[in-house]
């Protein structure tokens, strides 16, 4: 898999604030790449440099093998949904989009056709004659996404595409992004771990302008995979020790113990697995774990996959804070 985006030692400072610090990262082609980070981590700055809105203090970014300082060569191949950009309020939506396509070299009738097709794909046919001012936040967000998808670019940067949207709208946008994955490389920034874990095949975590972690979602979560098990009773210390000694089990932690009588004291545990050793098979570890629990006379009442990425995110960002890196 070749890289669609190659970020090389990018640094950017706004006054005294170091927004990005010597950051390097590669985004594989045809992947949906998630960019995670707390507020001020540098996600939007990174997107803005990739789209040449901002000039880096050092380093460079290559998109499809072209340095973004020569952004004109990426015209039509790279597009972006900027986080806080506004459309023109005084121009009808359809006219704005036709204008975008005219700049791409389409004739007026072609432009109209292309725009209508894109609007159909994002479910915005009904608003084409409206003005931006009359649209809801969700509609405007979809309009921004439609703008990013217009003209079938090869790389799309989506800066918090579902921020501020209700669950139904957010779901529609996620489905739309998934549909487009086959032909496009998409980079999505978000605060929503579950969304990134569901949507993306690769992920990078930024904090304070530094890259904390990067890789495929599978790789990252495999090393620290965890499952929430609801058991019929609480485990004794010796049982916990016995289970922790199993190959592939890193830690067992009690999450909550229900004391309601009818629940018969069922207790929720988090089992953290360590599958970084490729010889250790996840299914085998789970199977052994369940056998051992049954042997101990404990019944399994619930089994869910834990929010691995979120844990990872909190771990790496907390680690950063603890180290006090500035």
């Amino acid at each position: 898999m070749t890289d669609a985006i190659s970020i090389k030692r990018i640094s950017k400072k706004f006054g005294q604030v170091q927004a990005l610090s010597d950051l390097s990262l590669n985004v594989p082609s045809h992947s949906i790449f998630g960019l995670l980070g707390p507020n001020g981590a540098g996600k939007t700055t990174l997107f803005s440099i990739a789209a040449d809105f901002l000039k880096p203090d050092a380093g460079n970014i290559e998109v499809l093998g072209i340095d973004t300082r020569d952004i004109s060569r990426l015209r039509g191949r790279l597009s972006i949904l900027p986080q806080d950009a506004r459309f023109q309020n005084n121009v009808p939506i359809l006219e704005q989009f036709i204008f975008f396509r005219l700049l791409a070299g389409s004739t007026k009738s072609q432009a109209r056709e292309e725009v209508l097709k894109t609007f159909e794909s994002v479910g915005l046919q009904s608003v084409i004659k409206n003005r931006v001012g009359s649209l809801s936040h969700g509609m405007i967000k979809r309009l921004g996404i439609a703008q990013a998808f217009l003209g079938n670019p090869e790389v799309i940067l989506l800066d918090e595409p579902t921020a501020g949207l209700d669950p139904a709208n957010a779901r529609q946008i996620r489905d739309l992004i998934k549909r487009l994955q086959e032909r496009t490389t998409i980079v999505v920034s978000s605060h929503n771990m579950a969304e990134i874990q569901e949507l993306c095949d690769h992920v990078a975590i930024l904090d304070h302008g530094r890259l904390m972690l990067a890789g495929s979602v599978e790789e990252i979560t495999l090393a620290h995979r965890e499952y929430n098990l609801t058991l019929s009773r609480a485990l004794t210390d010796s049982e916990e020790k016995c289970l922790t000694a199993l190959e592939g089990v890193r830690e067992i932690k009690m999450l909550s113990q229900r004391t309601i009588i009818q629940n018969n004291g069922s207790t929720e545990y988090t089992f953290k697995l360590d599958l970084s050793d490729h010889n250790v098979n996840q299914d085998k570890v789970i199977s052994t774990l369940l056998h051992n629990l049954l042997d101990m006379g404990v019944t399994l009442r619930g089994f869910t996959e834990g929010r691995n990425l979120e844990k990872q995110f909190l771990e790496v960002t907390d680690e950063f804070k603890e180290k006090g890196i500035k």
Binding site: S48, A51, D52, F53, L54, K55, I71, S72, L74, R75, L78, S79, I80, P82, D84, A85, R86, F87, Q88, N90, V91, E95, F99, F100, L102, L103, A104, G144, Q147
Partner: protein
């Protein structure tokens, strides 16, 4: 620097000029320019109109007398505006009672002591229209800031430009919007001058229609050209400042500031009058000069000043974070 695209500049200019009227700045300019242009004309035309209404006899000889009366009244003011005479000299030449002068003292051209430029504007060309042009030359540079201050800064602030930046070059946006602003400004100038000329030709009827049309075409082209450096100055300010309000304030400090500084400064030290040359104030009236050399120099001046203001703005816009 990027390669500019003529087709992109044309498309951007077309859309910008088409939709600018719906933006606050376009509408404000349209209203203020129309009010200023037509009100200025009204101030000059009204006394003449009143006088004609009083006169029953509108024979050719009487019309000639009216034309001479207008020349007589306007001459000292025009000479002061053109810099031919000082304020003190003009004060001595001004008739005591303008209305009375118009009615009773028609003066022959040869007895008026004209310089060549004043004679060209007031005698050889329709004097009333010349005077209106001089007022427009003075006032329109202020008025045009209402249109031109927000060529870029508003969209930089709202980040609206970010939707455009991956679709065309920054230079195309800069020059396209500059061109679109010029197109809109030129259309409004044409409208003002057309209304005034039409009124003078059809209602007042003291000048031959052909003479009015020829001179108004010259005035229209001169005024349109004169707007170029001022719009370019606003483009530079707008490309450098994020806030449209601040961009407006800076443009409105610089344009009159140069004029006022030169006017006050020359009282203390005469050479300070050359501060006027930082903007076209110092030579812009030469666009109405009878000498082709003066006219050509003024025309070149407009183009050179436009380039001087436009290029740093382009450079700044090209390099800055958006």
């Amino acid at each position: 620097m990027e390669t500019l695209s003529a087709s992109h500049i044309r498309i951007i200019a077309y859309y910008w000029s088409r939709y600018i009227v719906r933006s606050g700045s376009g509408l404000a300019y349209l209203m203020i320019a129309l009010i200023f242009g037509l009100f200025s004309a009204q101030i000059l035309i009204m006394p003449v109109e009143k006088f004609i209404q009083q006169k029953q006899d509108v024979s050719e000889s009487n019309l000639q007398n009216i034309r001479y009366s207008i020349i007589n009244i306007e001459k000292p003011i025009v000479q002061y505006v053109l810099g031919v005479k000082s304020f003190k000299e003009v004060g001595q030449d001004l008739p005591n009672d303008l209305m009375n002068t118009m009615i009773s003292k028609p003066v022959a051209e040869d007895s008026m002591g004209f310089d060549r430029w004043t004679s060209f504007l007031l005698v050889k060309r329709p004097a009333l229209l010349s005077a209106i042009f001089l007022i427009l030359f003075f006032g329109m540079p202020f008025v045009v800031t209402y249109l031109a201050f927000n060529q870029l800064s508003g969209d930089v602030q709202s980040r609206g430009l970010r939707y455009l930046l991956l679709k065309t070059e920054r230079g195309n946006i800069y020059f396209g919007r500059f061109l679109g602003t010029i197109v809109f400004s030129t259309l409004v100038t044409a409208l003002i001058i057309a209304v005034i000329t039409f009124y003078l030709a059809m209602k007042l009827r003291i000048y031959p229609a052909m003479s009015l049309i020829g001179w108004s075409l010259h005035g229209f082209m001169a005024l349109s050209l004169l707007m170029l450096p001022y719009i370019a100055l606003c483009a530079m300010i707008s490309a450098s400042i994020d806030s449209p309000m601040l961009s407006f304030v800076v443009a409105n400090l610089i344009i009159p500031g140069v004029l006022i500084t030169a006017a006050i400064g020359r009282i203390a030290w005469a050479p300070l009058k050359y501060i006027n040359y930082l903007l076209p104030w110092g030579w812009q009236n030469h666009l109405l000069h009878p000498s082709p050399i003066h006219l050509l120099m003024a025309l070149l001046g407009c183009l050179v000043y436009t380039a001087i203001f436009l290029m740093p703005g382009y450079y700044i816009f090209e390099k800055r974070d958006l």
